[in-house]
Symmetry: C2
């Protein structure tokens, strides 16, 4: 087996994208939507940008059981066995544990990239270069590698990684030791962060070999690890899903950042810049997409804007849309649900959707 | 035959309501829509408020051929023979000529109210009183009676009637001679009008007996009259629609105001006040409907307003609507067509709908 055959990609696709309501909802979260209006959904674009990194049979998707049909429909190339179904939502640590033990059962030499399914990457060529570079690094080391994005604005919607830029790794001069992980900051703190050159956005993309992550889980999350040790003999059998359905709900609801990153000592960050955005909010969509001369982003077939600026209009199911006299608003319609809201108030969208 | 049996109501229902787009469109103009959210469409409410004025068989509807099925569905009580179908749009004079000659063929003693189908009347009891009073007046006179509404604001969306208030008619002290008809004014002119007590809004409702209107047509619109004299022998026969389809398109496109009112000398106005509005615009809907504490009018099942004031939201086909941070806007959605527009810019809606 050459290195290519040992490469695996894990796409995490269990999120519900509540901040993108009404475009995104529990029935059809944003990773399954053509948010960019380009003809491919976010999860399809995620798979696309790993083309050539590994065999198609080494791409894994972890998602909620209710999204199984959507994943099969949108990613028909991926073997059905590679679609792992969580019976309930338990954040990223149980998700990564499940898929890591399963990959280990298939290939103990696996070298793995874990990626969210709902981010965007503008520079796919550079993305591929750094992913390959990181995988080369983790193939022959037991490093946990995160991806830190060079911050270009005081973003309060992202977590930050504080890197030790004084010295890069001997074998890869783009990889540094992590000093600390920082949670989403307030604006004042974010402004301090971007003054410092060593504060990078935490992209939520990880690279490691399968033994590294499994061992880290065993050390820092022994209870979680025991669950999957117990399921291990049943992987790729008829009983796997039953076992998962029984044990997965007992897993602690915890992110991999809390479960591993903040506990482990030797964490590395690849300082990269490939036009990344987590597209977590309408505002980030507005930031990332092509704006017209008036700063409007319009996604939909027949949208006419009059005296309007700095708006994001996403009405892909409408036959015709006319917007007049709005500055800095979201206008979104889907499945007979309509939202008109100031972009500056978008943190309340989850509340609006639930009221 | 007693007087009740001679009373006829003509409902003009051929308009396209373009200023109410997208709620109203050519396929389904506003007279056929439950604009008020009360469970009855405007044309149904129009018929309702004439209850008890005449036998149901004396109610006539003149509409475009394409709306025949909608009229039959919405007003199933009205005999199909009483639904007159115009093959094309020719404004109110040809419409009134057609129905007047047809009623004359049925009942030469007919006493007629002509009304638009898309207005609203708040005080139906008072409306019935003044209609009956006017019909009593026209039964035994050859007067053309219009209805003038006491103006309550400098409205630029209505035409005005200048009345000679110095002396009412001997037989009805609410009816006066008309001095002049005034077209829709600009704001400065409208403000002058409402200073003068004798300027009334032209409601577009008329009362006359059938001989009065037919004779007036003969005098002031001889060409138009000859058309219907020619069709007269075919009324209530298989050939009527063919004759109408052939001749109606040759009629001049002219309103009854231009064709008769501004030419005839003896025109009367009934000075009335029954909570009338022509609901011609979103603004008038906003004026006339119940507003919440923040000045919003919301028509739809599940509309949530946050930090919004003075808006009119009409989204009766949406499952859920959230509007945040709008002041003085129209938000309307129908048939996958969405409009968000400042109320102050609503005169441009026709342009928006056509672009």
């Amino acid at each position: 087996m050459n290195q290519y055959d040992n490469n695996h990609i894990v796409i995490m696709a269990g999120g519900i994208g509540s901040r993108f309501w009404p475009m995104s909802d529990k029935q059809y979260p944003k990773q399954f939507i053509d948010v960019l209006g380009c003809g491919r959904t976010l999860i399809q674009l995620t798979m696309d940008r790993f083309k050539g990194i590994c065999p198609i049979g080494n791409i894994w998707v972890v998602t909620q059981a209710e999204y199984a049909d959507i994943v099969k429909e949108q990613l028909p190339e991926i073997p059905v066995d590679n679609i792992l179904l969580e019976p309930c939502r338990r954040n990223t640590a149980p998700c990564i544990a499940y898929v890591s033990w399963k990959i280990k059962a298939r290939n103990p030499k696996a070298n793995i990239v874990v990626t969210p399914s709902d981010h965007i990457v503008m520079d796919v060529k550079e993305f591929q270069r750094v992913i390959k570079s990181a995988m080369k690094f983790t193939k022959s080391s037991d490093a946990i590698v995160t991806f830190g994005m060079k911050a270009t604005r005081p973003e309060t919607g992202y977590g930050y990684i504080e890197a030790d830029l004084s010295m890069s790794c001997p074998s890869n001069n783009e990889i540094y030791r992590v000093d600390a992980f920082k949670e989403k900051p307030d604006l004042a703190t974010a402004e301090k962060y971007i003054q410092k050159k060593n504060c990078l956005w935490n992209s939520g993309i990880f690279v490691w070999n399968v033994n590294t992550i499994v061992n880290a889980m065993r050390v820092y999350q022994p209870v979680l690890s025991k669950m999957f040790e117990k399921i291990f003999p049943y992987f790729f059998t008829d009983k796997e899903q039953d076992m998962v359905n029984e044990l997965f709900p007992m897993c602690e609801n915890i992110s991999v950042d809390y479960a591993i990153m903040e506990k482990a000592d030797e964490i590395y960050v690849f300082s990269a810049s490939f036009g990344w955005s987590d597209l977590g909010t309408w505002g980030s969509l507005h930031e990332n997409l092509q704006r017209d001369a008036h700063g409007n982003v319009c996604l939909g077939d027949n949208i006419k804007m009059y005296e309007s600026r700095n708006c994001v209009v996403h009405t892909t199911q409408e036959k015709k849309v006319v917007v007049q006299g709005l500055d800095g608003y979201i206008v979104a319609e889907k499945n007979n649900t309509l939202l008109v809201c100031r972009l500056s108030e978008e943190q309340r969208i989850k509340e609006f959707s639930e009221d």
